[in-house]
């Protein structure tokens, strides 16, 4: 009796082990940003599961730094997920290390039904191309531009938003009063780059092959921002932290008249303060009209267990109808040309304004990444330098020149 019970138990254990093995063999693992778990994407996963009986989608969401930590650990363990979302700089970085799946063959095979890269805006294809091969597919393409509180500007006597630095400074001063700031800057270094680029400065100069954020133009841009904080007192010292929502929260609470942000902040503002009368303006023009470009790409690790299924999910997640539905529901801007031409998208005033800044927006570190020289340590150097200017009120020209030397030394050591 005891023997038969033991035999039965063993058989059950073996069977359940086999079944568990079978179940896990049909699970596709996806890493995504915590804020991008949109219903439209969850519906895509449900459809995928319905079309592929026995398959499940393990949708794991993390903040970007945590996602990267987990991904690097997975690469080290030889157990990466099947599909990964990345915030803009990881595709060339990991592709150059041979860690990503080359998508050329898959894209060529399916071109008739899925026009990649033909239907994608050039900037988004450039970001995902390494040595002439495709390693990622852009799913969101964003830019940061000016948001302003219409009522506050009107109260201060301005019917229109600023178009250049002088107007911006004047309006920021005029709208500043007790507890309310004319402008709320962001602590993250990349948000200082619109000022640098608008003044003709840049992060990297491909002609000289050197870091260029110590130039006079770049220093003037950061100094302008610092002067708003320390001289005019029309902007608060930004708050450091793990998130970059501080300016959005001040704007939503009616405590800042202007902020610079991207489409990801549209919904938090709408839901946080439905009565707020606000609008989106084109980016400022000083020497040139410019702003930062961002976005998210999808990539398949080279050692992914199910690259075919991951590619199938990429096609579903970036389908035009999914892009349109996601952008209308969540105000996210998208990379496909057919999305930009969609009548519903063009009719949406907010999306339209963000869409309008995409053509003149630039990915700050793209040139350096394309040169195969990108090193996140350089971002750290720039971040520290901008902090010293904005927080400690150090002169931008000196600090950025020293940072440029340090960054170029890092490049030289590469």
């Amino acid at each position: 009796m005891l023997k038969s019970i033991l035999k039965g138990s063993a058989a059950t254990l073996i069977a359940s082990g086999i079944m568990a093995g079978a179940a896990s063999a049909e699970e596709i693992r996806i890493y995504f940003n915590a804020g991008h778990g949109y219903d439209t994407y969850l519906e895509v996963f449900e459809e995928f599961e319905a079309d592929n009986p026995g398959w499940t989608v393990a949708f794991e969401r993390y903040q970007w730094p945590d996602l990267r930590t987990k991904l690097v650990a997975d690469f080290a363990a030889g157990n990466p997920p099947d599909l990964v979302a990345e915030p803009g700089a990881w595709v060339p970085e990991f592709a150059q290390q041979g860690l990503l799946y080359n998508l050329d063959d898959l894209a060529a095979r399916d071109r008739a039904e899925f026009d990649y890269p033909g239907d994608w805006q050039d900037a988004s294809v450039e970001k995902n191309t390494v040595d002439g091969s495709l390693y990622g597919v852009q799913i969101h393409l964003t830019c940061a531009t000016l948001l302003y509180n219409v009522d506050m500007l009107k109260e201060a006597g301005y019917d229109n938003p600023p178009t250049n630095w002088a107007e911006f400074r004047e309006i920021a001063k005029a709208t500043t009063r007790n507890g309310v700031f004319g402008f709320a800057p962001n602590a993250v270094w990349a948000y200082s780059m619109p000022w640098v680029m608008q003044n003709g400065g840049r992060y990297y100069d491909p002609e000289t092959g050197k870091i260029a954020f110590g130039s006079e133009a770049a220093a003037e841009g950061v100094q302008f921002l610092s002067d708003l904080i320390h001289e005019d007192r029309s902007a608060p010292v930004p708050v450091t932290g793990a998130d970059y929502e501080g300016p959005q929260r001040l704007f939503t609470a009616g405590r800042a008249a202007m902020i610079i942000t991207g489409p990801w902040d549209i919904n938090p503002i709408r839901t946080g303060n439905p009565d707020l009368n606000w609008a989106v303006a084109p980016s400022l023009k000083e020497v040139e009209q410019a702003t930062i470009q961002g976005g998210v790409s999808l990539m398949i690790p080279k050692d992914a267990q199910y690259p075919e299924q991951a590619w199938d999910l990429i096609k579903r997640l970036t389908a035009v109808d999914v892009e349109v539905a996601t952008s209308l529901q969540y105000s996210m801007t998208m990379p496909r040309k057919s999305w930009l031409n969609d009548p519903e998208v063009q009719a949406d005033p907010i999306l339209g304004q963000f869409g309008a800044c995409l053509p003149y927006s630039r990915d700050v570190t793209l040139e350096l990444r394309q040169a195969g020289k990108y090193n996140p340590a350089i971002d750290e150097v720039l971040n520290g330098a901008i902090d010293e200017v904005l927080f400690a009120n150090e002169p931008a020209a000196e600090v950025l020149a020293a940072a440029e030397d340090e960054a170029n030394a890092i490049l030289a050591n590469e």
Partner: protein, 292 residues
């Protein structure tokens, strides 16, 4: 097989799961990290090459690493000194006939049992210069706005204050237990010899608490030297890298900078520094105390 051998083998048999666990999950990764610390490129995830001691030598030229070491030493020493001084004072008060002393002890100990993530996020919200409770309270009483976490000069001290707030209850608890363990006849004899209250504290309590002080100093120093969660959650190492503690620097170097070989060298350098500081603490604070 002798009885002694059987006993030894039995003991090892029982210990073997723990030994295997530590070998696999602690010592093996440490060995791999040590190997990686002598390599450039991408050891563990990609191509790498042996570079000898180059990674270790580079630490001396790494401006951010030097800044992180300085910030970490300030943070660790500040946390130890303020926690121990405050804990000693409070425990000396709380062993006496204080009303509601159990309630006060519970309140002091409460922060220690809160998750550090909750503590960090709570303090970040409270200390926000524009929307935080503390500045709102200061404004109510007519005091100027403060920039605790935003000013590079004050940010590290603010982190120390949060760390002290969190660890104080634990140190008080240990000190109270130690004070209660001091034999009463020592105080009685001293009183008979005319000793006053401050003499009792200085000449009996304080010396007899040296082993406890050493224990607390070592434990708080080691955890402070390894601190990462607090700056990661509250400031991300800013402003101007003022709160970029060493562990955060190692993490950023490894996972954001993908410089895994160098990050491994940084980790081992910190391991050696902690060993050195702990040895120095034992040398400075260790007293062979016997009371009869």
């Amino acid at each position: 097989m002798t009885y002694k051998t059987r006993r030894t083998l039995t003991a090892y048999a029982f210990l073997s799961p723990a030994i295997v666990y530590f070998l696999i999950y602690f010592f093996w990764p440490i060995a791999i990290e040590f190997w990686a610390s002598f390599r450039s490129g991408q050891p563990l995830i990609g191509d790498s090459a042996f570079v000898g001691l180059k990674n270790y030598a580079h630490i001396l030229n790494d401006r951010l690493a030097i800044k992180a070491i300085k910030a970490t030493l300030i943070y660790a020493i500040g946390s130890v000194v303020f926690t121990l001084v405050l804990a000693l004072g409070l425990s000396a008060l709380l062993v006496g006939p204080v009303r509601a002393r159990n309630g006060i002890r519970a309140i002091l100990f409460f922060p220690y049992i809160i998750s550090f993530v909750i503590s960090a996020l709570m303090w970040r919200a409270i200390l926000d210069p524009y929307t935080g409770l503390l500045n709102a309270a200061l404004a109510k009483v007519g005091l100027p706005q403060q920039f605790w976490l935003v000013d590079p000069d004050t940010a590290i001290w603010t982190l120390i204050a949060v760390s002290v707030w969190k660890d104080l209850g634990y140190a008080v608890l240990i000190y109270i237990a130690a004070i209660q363990g001091i034999p009463a006849h020592l105080y009685e004899a001293a009183r008979m010899d005319g000793a006053r209250r401050h003499h009792l504290f200085r000449d009996i309590t304080l010396p007899l608490l040296m082993p406890t002080t050493l224990f607390l100093a070592v434990v708080i120093m080691i955890t402070s030297l390894q601190e990462m969660a607090l700056p990661y959650l509250m400031t991300q190492g800013g402003p101007a890298n003022a709160t970029r503690l060493y562990s955060l620097h190692v993490y950023e170097t490894a996972f954001q900078g993908l410089n895994i070989g160098y990050a491994s060298a940084l980790s081992f350098a910190m391991f050696m520094l902690i060993l050195l500081i702990t040895w120095a603490q034992f040398k400075l604070l260790h007293r062979d105390i016997r009371h009869v």
